[in-house]
């Protein structure tokens, strides 16, 4: 089973590649060194031959033989042979030589074996390279060099490279064993945790070791996904509970009204009034459903809404103007401070809807303070933001409840007696996240004890 894991397969593949590279390297380096050494040998031999040739030309065969005799006695001397035209060895330091070497002039292409006078019978056979020239009197002169040194050097290079390679392989195996196995064990732990999650325990999280490596980062992002799923799931459950609860109330009311009309209605006019009220209530229900649908469409993401360049200042002025008579009727003074020509990417309808929800709320929740009730609509730009804010001087939202009010159907106790479906701020929140902006609440006047008011800020990126 272990052999089938990705880690093992990858390790094997890398090991093979590494081995091939290393072998190529060994052969290349050793081949290169032996060629360099051979070249050197050839050069030395050639120089010596030229020297001896000069000696022959000045002193004839006698001087040549005495030269060779002297040179032969030096330690580590080259090989020398002077042979008669019939091939018989006349002088030199070589006792025996591979047959045929002397027959050819020039370089011996391949190493040949030979034996020296000085060596004892049990010494191994030597190999050498040599050059043969034909002297003018028909004799042959051979100068050669033993290959013991280059051969030794080459095997030394090969040996050390092989040793290094072996150590690397051993090291890699050890490292793989410790690191690879450790990684495998962590993956194993992660898959066990995900099996539990799959089994339905959404509160399970993947283990995090704290080393901040890629496993930890993977676990962290998977955990973040899990947390998101859990909260969405929780939200969904809450929403369906709330929908069931909040829609039951108006439906019951609708039903009761119909029942009451049937029981007590006398003439057509009574029925007509009852029916008209029922139509109005159904319309209200439809609006609630529309708002719910709108929120989920907006939450479904940017693919659902067309984005374009829009004039935020114009939207702010439009909505302010749209709500001005309503505010005036409610005894609320609306003031505006709108920066001109602020443009962002977005959906005009949705932003208009969001702002109108906020203005509607601000008027609704400050109206009881008339004639002191005030609502301020402002638009200003920061370095890379555009902030569209609506502030009122009503009773505000306690800090602890501010995260709550954007949830669907959440209505604070003190607002229960006012019209509304508890979806307005949820929609604003959804619209802001569609625009990759955010909705923030703060007290409009934090120092005021009784009437802190509320400032809702829609913060857009520019």
């Amino acid at each position: 089973m272990v052999l089938r894991t990705t880690a093992v397969r990858l390790s094997a593949l890398y090991f093979l590649l590494f081995l091939i590279c290393a072998l190529v390297l060994v052969f290349y380096i050793s081949g290169l060194t032996s060629r360099i050494l051979t070249d050197q040998t050839q050069e030395l031999v050639h120089e010596e031959l030229e020297l001896l040739g000069r000696a022959y030309r000045t002193g004839g065969i006698t001087l040549l033989i005495s030269h060779i005799d002297r040179r032969s006695r030096q330690p580590g001397a080259n090989l020398y042979i002077i042979a008669a035209p019939n091939g018989q060895v006349i002088a030199g330091n070589v006792e025996s030589i591979q047959a045929g070497v002397l027959d050819k002039q020039g370089w011996t292409e391949t190493p040949f074996t030979y034996g020296r006078f000085t060596q004892t019978p049990d010494t191994p056979i030597h190999t050498a390279l040599a050059e043969v020239i034909l002297l003018p009197n028909g004799m042959r002169l051979l100068v050669g060099r033993d290959l013991k040194e280059p051969t030794q050097f080459r095997s030394l290079v090969r040996g050390s490279l092989a040793l290094a390679l072996g150590m690397m392989v051993a090291g890699a195996l050890v490292i793989w064993f410790f690191l690879g196995r450790r990684a495998l064990r962590r993956i194993e732990r992660m898959s066990r945790a995900s099996e539990k999650i799959l089994a339905g325990d959404l509160s399970q999280r993947l283990p995090i070791q704290g080393s901040n490596d890629e496993f930890d980062r993977l676990s962290e992002s998977l955990n973040a996904i899990m947390a998101r799923i859990e909260s969405l799931n929780e939200g969904l459950r809450q929403v369906s509970d709330n929908i069931a609860h909040d829609l039951k109330t108006p439906l019951t009311r609708l039903r009761n009204r119909a029942e009451a009309a049937m029981a007590s209605g006398e003439d057509v006019e009574d029925f007509r009034t009852a029916l008209e009220q029922m139509v109005e209530e159904s319309d209200q229900l439809i609006r609630t459903f529309n708002a719910l649908l709108m929120i989920s469409r907006v939450e479904a993401g940017s693919s659902a809404a067309e984005m374009g360049r829009l004039d935020l200042s114009q939207i702010a002025r439009d909505v302010a103007e749209l709500y001005d008579p309503v505010a005036e009727e409610a005894g609320v003074t609306v003031s505006t401070e709108i920066e001109d020509g602020v443009e962002i990417e977005g959906n005009r309808e949705l932003i208009g809807q969001a702002l109108s929800n906020l203005v509607d709320n601000a008027i609704k929740y400050s109206a009881h303070r008339k004639p002191e009730a005030r609502v301020a609509i402002s638009l200003e730009t920061g370095e890379d933001t555009a902030v569209l804010a609506v502030a009122d001087n009503g009773s505000g939202i306690p800090e602890d409840d501010r995260a709550e009010v954007v949830k669907r159907f959440v209505r604070l106790d003190k607002s229960r007696n006012l019209a509304g479906n508890g979806l307005g701020l949820s929609l604003v929140e959804a619209i802001m996240s569609l625009h990759r902006g955010r909705l923030e609440f703060s007290a409009a006047d934090p120092d005021a004890e009784k009437w802190p008011g509320l400032r809702a800020r829609m913060i857009f990126r520019r």
Partner: protein, 249 residues
């Protein structure tokens, strides 16, 4: 399945609107939901219109090309051929009968795609019937449009579109720019019911749900300006539907 009775708001709507002048409007309904189609047919007939019904896209397209209608009401999701492709095919053949697109699709920009395909108006389901009827009437009357008139007149009320002035019985009435546009739209469709959403769409150019009765307050402001010093009311509220501007008959 029984056909639902037309709502009382609607009958009042028909009552308020008064008799239609001239030949009845001819409407093509392309809708695959037979119950909805039957309801629509009954209600439009009660409103004095003549209707044809097609139950799928192919028949709908055939009828739209063969006969001539004043308005077509086309559902967006239809068997065989979807509503938007019918509309664009009609426009390619230079048939520019006004089309009202109905849709239950759940997208934010349905309206935009619907209008882009060549639709003249768009109504999301579920719609209230008075909303649909008001829109069909406005579309149907568009042919004899008053777009080119420079002065609109309703009774003694006069609106000069070039001079941006409003007079009633010779007295000048001062209006804010938005009030002027509101009155202009109402006068352009004088004698027709216009709904709150139609006003928001055409006067403010927004299509969202304004939560509270914002439009009503604008209307009552306008009403007080054009009616305060005069005896006869001109701007009437149609319960459950919207408003109608007409001289008392």
């Amino acid at each position: 399945m029984s056909v639902q009775p037309v709502s009382c708001a609607l009958s009042k709507f028909i009552l308020e609107r008064g008799a239609l002048d001239g030949a009845p409007m001819k409407i093509l309904i392309v809708e695959d939901d037979l119950e909805a189609a039957a309801y629509l047919t009954k209600a439009l007939n009660e409103a004095g219109m003549v209707t044809d019904h097609a139950s799928d896209g192919d028949i709908g397209f055939y009828m739209a090309t063969e006969n001539s209608y004043d308005v077509m009401v086309i559902d967006r999701m239809l068997p065989k051929r979807d509503g938007l492709s019918i509309v664009s095919a009609l426009r390619e053949r230079s048939i520019d009968t006004p089309v009202l697109i109905l849709s239950a699709l759940g997208q934010v920009d349905d309206r935009v795609t619907g209008l882009r395909a060549g639709g003249d108006d768009y109504l999301p389901k579920p719609y209230s019937f008075s909303e649909l009827l008001a829109r069909v009437e406005v579309l149907g009357r568009r042919k004899g449009t008053r777009d080119n008139d420079t002065v609109y007149r309703v009774g003694e009320l006069e609106l000069d579109r070039l001079a941006h002035e409003v007079h009633r019985e010779g007295h000048k009435i001062l209006l804010q720019p938005r009030e002027f546009r509101l009155l202009e739209y109402l006068m352009k469709h004088a004698g027709q019911v216009v709904t709150r959403t139609m006003l928001l769409e055409n006067v403010w150019d927004y299509h969202f749900d304004p939560q509270t009765n914002v439009i009503d307050v604008h209307i009552s402001r306008l009403r007080s300006k054009i009616e305060r010093d005069f005896d006869t009311p001109l701007l009437h509220t149609v319960r459950g539907a919207g408003y109608i501007l007409k001289a008392e008959s």
